[in-house]
C-alpha cells in the first residue's frame, strides 16, 4: 500500500486530507510543518508528500528542496491557499523545485486523487481535469 505524508499547519486540512486519502485506500500520515515532515520521512519514508507552502518552522519550498535531495524518488504535490501572503509565484517556484503537481486550495477531490494515482503510477487517466498553473 502506498504511503502518503500530508504536511499542513492547518489541523483541519490535515485531518480532512488524511481521511480522504485513507478512504481512497492509502496509508496516510501527517505533519504540522516541514521540520516534522522531514522527521517523519526519516522514520518511515512516504511515496508521496502533499505539502502546504506557507508554514511555520520549516517553510514549504525549503521542505520540497530537502525532500528532493534526500528522497529523490518521493513524489511531491504542493498545495497553497494563495492570497496576498502567498503570491502566485510560490506555486511556480514549487513546480520548478520539483513538485510534480501544484494545486490551489480548495481542490476538487477527484482532481487531487487523480494526481495522486497518476504520481503513484496507478495508471488512471491523469491528464483529465488537471489544473495547470
Amino acid at each position: 500500500m502506498a504511503r502518503i505524508l500530508v504536511v499542513d499547519d492547518d489541523e483541519q486540512i490535515r485531518t480532512m486530507l488524511v481521511m480522504t486519502l485513507e478512504e481512497a485506500g492509502y496509508e496516510a500520515d501527517e505533519a504540522a510543518d516541514g521540520r516534522a515532515a522531514i522527521r517523519k520521512q526519516r522514520e518511515k519514508p512516504a511515496d508521496l508528500v502533499i505539502t502546504d507552502l506557507i508554514m511555520p518552522e520549516k517553510e514549504g519550498l525549503e521542505t520540497i528542496m530537502d525532500l528532493r535531495k534526500e528522497w529523490p524518488s518521493t513524489k511531491i504535490i504542493a498545495i497553497s491557499g494563495g492570497g496576498r501572503a502567498v503570491p502566485g509565484d510560490y506555486l511556480l517556484h514549487a513546480r520548478h523545485l520539483g513538485a510534480a503537481r501544484v494545486f490551489r486550495k480548495p481542490i476538487e477531490r477527484s482532481e487531487l486523487l487523480g494526481a495522486v494515482r497518476e504520481l503513484l503510477g496507478e495508471g488512471a487517466s491523469l491528464t483529465k481535469g488537471r489544473r495547470s498553473v
Binding site: 486540512i13 491557499g81 492570497g83 502567498v86 509565484d89 480548495p106
Partner: protein, 689 residues
C-alpha cells in the same frame, strides 16, 4: 543820495551863475518892477499878448533874474491855490519857495540853466500849493530881455500834470512788474512773432534751461531747440504758433534739445498776447523730465502689476466699501466669461443672482474685514452654472494713502482640481487597503473553505444518496463552492494570481467579447464599434481582457436595459506626453491603446462615480451582480500599468476610458512594483498597489 551830496555844490554854482548873470544883467529893483510890467506898458507888448496871458489855462509867471515873482496870471494863482498874484507875491516873494523843499536845489539849477540857455522845455518838478499839498508840474521857461537886449527876467509857463504823471507811473510800474515776472518765472518764456514764429525775446530761465545765451537764442529757430524728429519739427512748431495766433491756446508736450545736444521733455503752453501793440505769441516752456520719468515709472509699475495679475491663475479682485468691484483680474473675468472692465461696478448680487446664500456669506465676510480691519482666509464654494468651483479665499482691508479704510482686496485660489485629486487619492488608498485586506484573508479563507468542502464530501461518502442528510450536505458543498468563487474574485481584484501575458490585438478581443455578450444584449440596444485597425498590440492575459470587456459591456447593457440606447466601443492609440494625462491624472509617458466604452444609459451621480471601483459596491439589485466586476477590471488594468477613467452624467450615460500600454511601451515589471509612490499620486484609477 547822489543828489544830496551834490546839493551844496549845485547851490554854490547856481549862486555863482546867478551872480554872473546878474553881473551881466545888473538890474536894479526899480528896473525889475519896470521889466515886470513890460507887457502892460512896453512897446513890445500889446493887448493881444495880455489877453493870451490872462486867458491861458497854463500858469504863467514872470520872474526877475533872482527868481523873485514879478507877475502871475490867474491860472497860475488858481493852480497854486492863491486868490491873487499879490497874495502869492506877499507870501512867497521867491518863486523857488513854491516848489517842495526836496526839489529846491533843482529848481534853482533849472532856473540858472534857463537864464543861461535862453529857453528850456518840459522840466518836471513838484510844486507846493498854498495849503502845502504838492503836485507834479511841467514847465517851460524863456529869458526876457530889455530893449537893450539885456536879460532882465524869465517867463515861466507851467501846468499841473499830476494825472498824466500818475498814469505814466502806473504804466511803468506794471511794466516793471511784468518784466520782473518774465525774468523770475520758473518757466522758460519765449516771445514769438505771431506771423513768422521768430523768437523775439526770452527770459533768464530759457537761458538756464537750454544752455544758450539770450543773444544766441534770438538767432535760432524753434527747430534748433527741438529734437527735430517728427513731430518735433519746425513745420509742426509753426503750425502750433499759427493755431495759437488764431486764438486757440495750445498746450502740448515737446521733445526739446539743449545746446549740449541733450534731449528733454517739455510742456509748452502757447498763448496769444499783444505786446506794445503788436501781436505776439508767448510760449511758456516747462521742463517735465522728472514728471515724465515718474509717470513712466508709475506706468511701468502698473503694467508690471497688471501683467502679474492677468497671467496669474489666482483670482484677484477689489471692492469699494459699498461692495462694488473696483478691479478684477483676467482669471476672475474668465470665471464669469466677461472682460475685467465689464466686471467693474458689479456687486456679488449681480454676479451670483441665483445664490442668495452665497451672496449673504460674502457680504458677511466683507463686513467682518471692514469691522475688524484684519485679513481673513476661508474656503468657499462658488457655484457657476453647472460646475461648482471650490475657491480658497483671502480677504484683506485696502487702505488709502492716509491709512483710512478704502475697500476690500481679495485673492482666491481655485482648489477644485486639488480637492478632487485629494478625494481620488483617498478613494485609491481605500481600494488599496481593501485589496490588501482581501488578499491577506484569502489564504485563510481558502483553508477554511477547503476543510468545509473536504469534510462535506467525506460525510457524503457515508450518507445514503438522496437522503435528507445527503441533500443537506450537498447544500453545504454548494455554499462552500460559492465561497470559494468569491475568494477567487477577491484574489483577482487584489491581483495576486499569476497571469500569462502575451501580445494581443485588442480589435479581435473586442469582437470576441461582443459575440460572447450578444446573448445578454437588450433588444433595443445598438452596438457601434470604431476600432482603429492600426492600433498596436498590448501585453495582456486574454482571459483578463475578456473579463475587462465583458464587465464593461455588461454594465453598459444593464445601464440601458429595456429603454435601449447605443453602446459605442472605440479603440485608438493615445500618446501621453509626460505629466499631463487625461483629466489631469498623469499617465506615464508613453503610447497607449485607448479603449472607450460608452453607453447612453441612465448614468450615475458623482457620489456613485466616486465609489464605482470599490469592491462590493454595486448599483444593481440583489442577485444581479457581485459588486466585484469593476473592482476586478480596475485591478487588471492597474496590474497592466494602465489606467481607467469614468465619466458619467445622470440621464445621459457613462463612459469608461481604458488606457493599456502598447507592447513597445509596456512598462517593465520591476517598475510596477518599485514605483509605489508615483502610483499613489496618480490617483484612484491608475497604477498597481
Amino acid at each position: 543820495m547822489d543828489r544830496e551830496e551834490r546839493e551844496p555844490a549845485v547851490t554854490d554854482r547856481t549862486g555863482k551863475e546867478s551872480e554872473e548873470t546878474m553881473t551881466g544883467g545888473s538890474l536894479s529893483q526899480g528896473d525889475e518892477r519896470e521889466a515886470g510890467r513890460l507887457c502892460s506898458r512896453g512897446t513890445s507888448c500889446d493887448d493881444r499878448l495880455r489877453a493870451i496871458f490872462e486867458a491861458s489855462a497854463d500858469g504863467i509867471a514872470l520872474l526877475d533874474p533872482s527868481g523873485a515873482i514879478v507877475e502871475m496870471n490867474r491860472s497860475a494863482c488858481r493852480l497854486l491855490g492863491f486868490g491873487s498874484p499879490e497874495e502869492i507875491i506877499s507870501t512867497s516873494p521867491s518863486a523857488f519857495d513854491l516848489v517842495v523843499p526836496e526839489e529846491r536845489h533843482r529848481v534853482i539849477a533849472e532856473f540858472a540853466r534857463t537864464v543861461r540857455d535862453e529857453i528850456v522845455r518840459g522840466v518836471r518838478l513838484r510844486v507846493r500849493r498854498r495849503d502845502g499839498s504838492p503836485f507834479e508840474a511841467e514847465w517851460s521857461g524863456a529869458v526876457q530881455r530889455d530893449k537893450n537886449g539885456r536879460k532882465n527876467g524869465v517867463v515861466f509857463v507851467f501846468r499841473d500834470i499830476s494825472d498824466r504823471a500818475r498814469a505814466e507811473s502806473a504804466l511803468t510800474e506794471s511794466e516793471e512788474t511784468y518784466r520782473s515776472i518774465f525774468r523770475s518765472a520758473n518757466d522758460a518764456i519765449f516771445v514769438h512773432d505771431a506771423e513768422t514764429g521768430a523768437i523775439l525775446d526770452v527770459n533768464e530761465k530759457t537761458v538756464e534751461l537750454f544752455g544758450w545765451s539770450a543773444d544766441e537764442i534770438l538767432a535760432l529757430q524753434v527747430v534748433d531747440l527741438s529734437s527735430g524728429e517728427p513731430p518735433y519739427t519746425q513745420e509742426e512748431a509753426k503750425k502750433k504758433v499759427r493755431a495759437a495766433a488764431a486764438g486757440e491756446p495750445q498746450i502740448f508736450e515737446w521733445r526739446s534739445k539743449k545746446k549740449s545736444g541733450e534731449f528733454f521733455w517739455a510742456e509748452v503752453n502757447l498763448k496769444q498776447a499783444t505786446i506794445r501793440g503788436k501781436p505776439r505769441i508767448l510760449a511758456l516752456v516747462r521742463d517735465i523730465t522728472d514728471r515724465k520719468r515718474s509717470e513712466e515709472e508709475r506706468r511701468r509699475t502698473e503694467r508690471l502689476l497688471r501683467d502679474f495679475m492677468d497671467h496669474s491663475p489666482t483670482f484677484f479682485w477689489a471692492k469699494d466699501l459699498r461692495g462694488r468691484l473696483t478691479m478684477a483680474n483676467q482669471a476672475v473675468a474668465d470665471l464669469f466669461r466677461r472682460s475685467p472692465e465689464e466686471l467693474v461696478g458689479l456687486t456679488a448680487r449681480d454676479l451670483f443672482p441665483a445664490n442668495s446664500k452665497l451672496v449673504a456669506e460674502m457680504e458677511e465676510q466683507d463686513l467682518r474685514v471692514v469691522e475688524t480691519g484684519e485679513a481673513l482666509s476661508l474656503e468657499e464654494s462658488v457655484v457657476l452654472g453647472e460646475a461648482g468651483r471650490r475657491v480658497l479665499i483671502w480677504k484683506f482691508p485696502l487702505r488709502d494713502a492716509e491709512g483710512a479704510l478704502a475697500g476690500i482686496g481679495a485673492a482666491g485660489l481655485d482648489v477644485t482640481e486639488q480637492r478632487e485629486l485629494e478625494e481620488r487619492l483617498r478613494q485609491s488608498q481605500k481600494l488599496e487597503a481593501i485589496g490588501t485586506f482581501a488578499g491577506g484573508i484569502a489564504h485563510d479563507f481558502n483553508n477554511i473553505i477547503y476543510s468545509i468542502l473536504g469534510f462535506t464530501e467525506l460525510a457524503m461518502d457515508h450518507t445514503e444518496k438522496g437522503s435528507r442528510p445527503f441533500r443537506c450536505l450537498e447544500q453545504v458543498r454548494e455554499a462552500g463552492a460559492r465561497a470559494s468563487d468569491l475568494v477567487a474574485q477577491i484574489l483577482e481584484f487584489s491581483r495576486t494570481r499569476e497571469t500569462e501575458r502575451t501580445p494581443l490585438r485588442l480589435q479581435r478581443m473586442i469582437h470576441e467579447a461582443l459575440r460572447l455578450a450578444e446573448g445578454s444584449r437588450p433588444p433595443r440596444v445598438e452596438v457601434r464599434t470604431m476600432l482603429d485597425p492600426n492600433c498596436g498590440e498590448v501585453l495582456a492575459d486574454p482571459t483578463e481582457i475578456h473579463q475587462v470587456l465583458l464587465n464593461l459591456v455588461a454594465n453598459a447593457f444593464h445601464a440601458m436595459g429595456e429603454r435601449g440606447g447605443t453602446l459605442a466601443i472605440r479603440l485608438e492609440e493615445y500618446f501621453a506626453g509626460g505629466a499631463g494625462g487625461p483629466r489631469g491624472a498623469g499617465l506615464d509617458h508613453g503610447s497607449y491603446a485607448r479603449l472607450t466604452v460608452e453607453d447612453t444609459g441612465h448614468g450615475m451621480d458623482p457620489s456613485t462615480v466616486r465609489r464605482i471601483f470599490e469592491p462590493y459596491f454595486t448599483t444593481k439589485g440583489v442577485g444581479e451582480g457581485t459588486g466585484l466586476g469593476l473592482a476586478t477590471v480596475h485591478g487588471i488594468v492597474r496590474a497592466m500599468g494602465g489606467a481607467i477613467f469614468v465619466e458619467s452624467e445622470i440621464g445621459r450615460g457613462t463612459r469608461f476610458d481604458v488606457y493599456l500600454p502598447l507592447v513597445s511601451d509596456a512598462p517593465a515589471r520591476d517598475r510596477e512594483t518599485a514605483n509605489d509612490k508615483g502610483e499613489a499620486e496618480r490617483g484612484a484609477h491608475t497604477g498597481r498597489g
